[in-house]
């Protein structure tokens, strides 16, 4: 089984963000970056499938500036076999551009499975995997939290509101991975040493013209300060009045 995993380099979401001078991107100074967590689950899923089959190849792709090679290396140190870096000045916001570049690379790769994380928290689009499936004309299952492969077919579990859904899909397929499928392994020291020697090719990403661009970014408005309306039972009528008339939640 030949498996591709597409991974994104994302900033640590606990950081305090600043908007850079151009007004349309984040100031990356001082931010820490790592592999998008759902993408790490996708890498883990690929590795587990390969280990179970006892053969196969796991190829990791990432699109973006040279720094994304570090993200690819992390996936290689977890155990993936080789990496492909699609070079671009920055990671575009437009999911379609990204998907087009990935699909151009994946098209002739004869992959049985192409895995993505469900979403990345920095752009919260969650569309790249699905668009790649469309462009490659193959099956697509999103938000997979359980996975079985047998006889050239797959079964995936999806969490719905109050229910679980099981779907069967044909190969080749694109899956986007949700929480619950697995826990990503830590790269072992041996894995980190081995990653250094694994092949990592870099070529320009065929992005094309973006169809969606960011016009402006703004920080969320400051929350208005809290208000203490009084103490004990005496404060209740005023509180109710404010909740009805000002907050309009009652």
């Amino acid at each position: 089984m030949k498996i591709a995993v597409c991974v994104k380099r994302v900033p640590d979401m606990d950081a305090r963000f600043r908007i850079s001078a151009d007004g349309t991107s984040l100031d990356e100074a001082g931010l820490k970056f790592d592999i998008n967590e759902p993408d790490a689950w996708a890498v883990e899923a690929g590795l587990q499938l390969k280990e179970k089959a006892g053969q196969g190849e796991v190829v990791v792709l990432s699109l973006g500036p040279p720094a994304v090679q570090e993200t690819i290396r992390k996936a290689l140190s977890m155990g993936a076999d080789r990496g492909i870096h699609l070079a671009a000045d920055r990671i575009p916001f437009d999911g379609f551009s990204i998907a087009r570049a990935l699909a151009a690379e994946l098209k002739d790769g004869a992959y049985d499975l192409i895995l993505f994380g469900k979403m990345s928290p920095d752009s919260s689009n969650g569309i790249v995997g699905a668009i790649v499936a469309e462009l490659l004309d193959c099956a697509c299952v999103t938000a997979v939290s359980g996975l079985e492969m047998a006889d050239g077919k797959g079964t995936a579990k999806r969490e719905l509101e109050g229910a679980q859904e099981f779907v069967e899909f044909t190969l080749p397929a694109v899956l986007t991975v949700d929480e619950g499928l697995n826990t990503a392994r830590y790269p072992s020291l041996k894995g980190i040493m081995a990653a250094k020697k694994k092949p990592l090719e870099s070529r320009p990403a065929q992005l094309g013209e973006p169809m969606v661009t960011i016009e402006s970014l703004a920080m969320p408005p400051d929350r208005p300060p809290g208000k203490i309306v009084g103490e004990g039972a005496a404060a209740v009528p005023e509180l109710v009045r404010l909740l009805q008339n000002e907050a309009k939640v009652l």
Partner: protein, 405 residues
């Protein structure tokens, strides 16, 4: 300290992994093991799987094939979260495995290092005796050669991994009356005292290691800190060791363990630095969240100045530790720098953890916050692998010799 001073891409990959691992896997269980004093077999199993018990040894011998800087950064990162887990790596690697790697014959290396570097079994180093602590040259344990075997009698105290471990390097007097020149080292093996837990965890015992008759471990010490680390006495009653388990030449034991301790000090310095930095990070976070007098307590100079002092001293400690490690890695003399780093960082760990508890107020005095554990864990850094007084003796000896030369 800028990372590029000592670290390449791989060092950073290792550090990032260990940072995540320590925060996600070790931190949530540290208080539990501190409370119970049990050896954390399950956590150590995970450390074994990641290759953390054989960091600096070559891959051919089952190690991870990294260098001393990577090793030191792992100890540093682990100790930020929990000192007991960090000392497990350090005692096993620098005290237990390194003498065999450095002074062993080809046969001894091939026999023992793969078992230790892969983390299959745990190792320890038996030097301290009831009447030979700081004065480690005052070893009383004897080894008498008889029919191709050495017969050991005596005892060791405070040996890290004394119970859980299976392979030990111990010192004993082979030629009485000639002082330190009469001390030799031996490799002794026995079955782990925690066999059931080792089996459940899937490591910690190897059938190929003979149980040396007359070699036993005593009861576990109930300690102020490092409570999840296994510290016990080792006893030798006519313990018979085959001749081929002599490590290095007869009479070389003292010189060899002095070298082992030299290098060990860098690990201990990194461990102390980690405790200090872990406590500092806790205090920094707490001070910016805790409000008194209508504002964050970090607004008060009485709180922010100690934080500034901690940050300053920790920065200095990093330069001392990584520079000493760099010297050792590059085979340059490092005895003085290692002792300086160990002295400075262990006293730093004590000062910093005391301040961190202070900044936490009453909450810092309870087990709801990790700083009281860090304060207890810090103290031993001023005692183990040479007390602070011994470090001053080592440093004084070096600087006075430098002056004379």
């Amino acid at each position: 300290m800028d990372d590029s001073l000592y670290f390449g891409e791989q060092h950073l990959a290792v550090r990032n992994m260990v940072r995540d691992f320590a925060r996600e896997e070790i931190a949530p269980t540290a208080a539990k093991y501190d409370e119970s004093g049990e050896f954390p077999w399950e956590n150590v199993r995970k450390m074994v799987d990641l290759g953390l018990l054989g960091i600096p040894w070559p891959e051919e011998l089952g190690g991870s094939g990294l260098d001393l800087l990577a090793y030191v950064s792992v100890i540093h990162e682990m100790a930020k979260v929990d000192a007991s887990h960090a000392i497990t790596i350090s005692a096993h690697t620098t005290l237990g495995t390194s003498p065999i790697f450095n002074f062993g014959t080809q046969a001894q290396r091939e026999r023992f290092v793969p078992l230790l570097a892969s983390g299959k079994v745990l190792a320890g180093f038996g030097l301290t005796e009831p009447s030979a602590g700081s004065d480690a040259g005052g070893t009383r344990t004897t080894a008498v050669k008889k029919d191709g075997r050495y017969v050991l009698n005596g005892s060791k105290v405070f040996i890290t991994h004394g119970g859980v471990g299976e392979v030990f390097v111990v010192t004993a007097v082979t030629t009485p009356g000639v002082g330190t020149k009469g001390i030799s080292s031996f490799i002794l093996t026995k079955e782990t005292a925690d066999r059931a837990k080792a089996d459940a965890a899937g490591f910690g015992h190897d059938d190929s290691l003979p149980n040396t008759p007359g070699f036993t471990s005593g009861k576990k010490e109930d300690k102020l800190g490092w409570r999840a680390s296994d510290t016990r006495s080792l006893n030798f009653e006519d313990a018979e060791v085959p001749e081929e388990n002599l490590l290095g030449e007869e009479g070389q034991g003292f010189l060899n363990f002095m070298q082992t301790l030299d290098a060990g000090r860098i690990g201990m310095a990194a461990l102390a630095l980690g405790i200090a930095e872990g406590a500092y990070e806790e205090a920094l976070r707490y001070a910016s969240e805790r409000r008194q007098f209508g504002q964050a307590i970090s607004n008060f100079q009485g709180v922010s100045f100690p934080l500034a002092d901690m940050a300053t001293e920790i920065e200095a400690g990093k330069h001392l530790v990584y520079h000493a490690a760099w010297l050792a890695e590059h085979k340059k003399p490092f005895t003085k720098q290692a002792a300086i780093a160990k002295l400075f960082c262990s006293e730093l760990a004590m000062r910093t953890t005391i301040k961190a508890v202070q900044i936490h107020g009453g909450y810092g005095y309870t087990k709801d916050y990790p700083v009281e554990r860090m304060m207890r864990d810090a103290k031993i850094c001023e005692i183990g692998e040479g007390t602070s007084e011994v470090q001053r003796m080592v440093i004084a000896r070096q600087i006075l010799r430098e002056m004379r030369d």
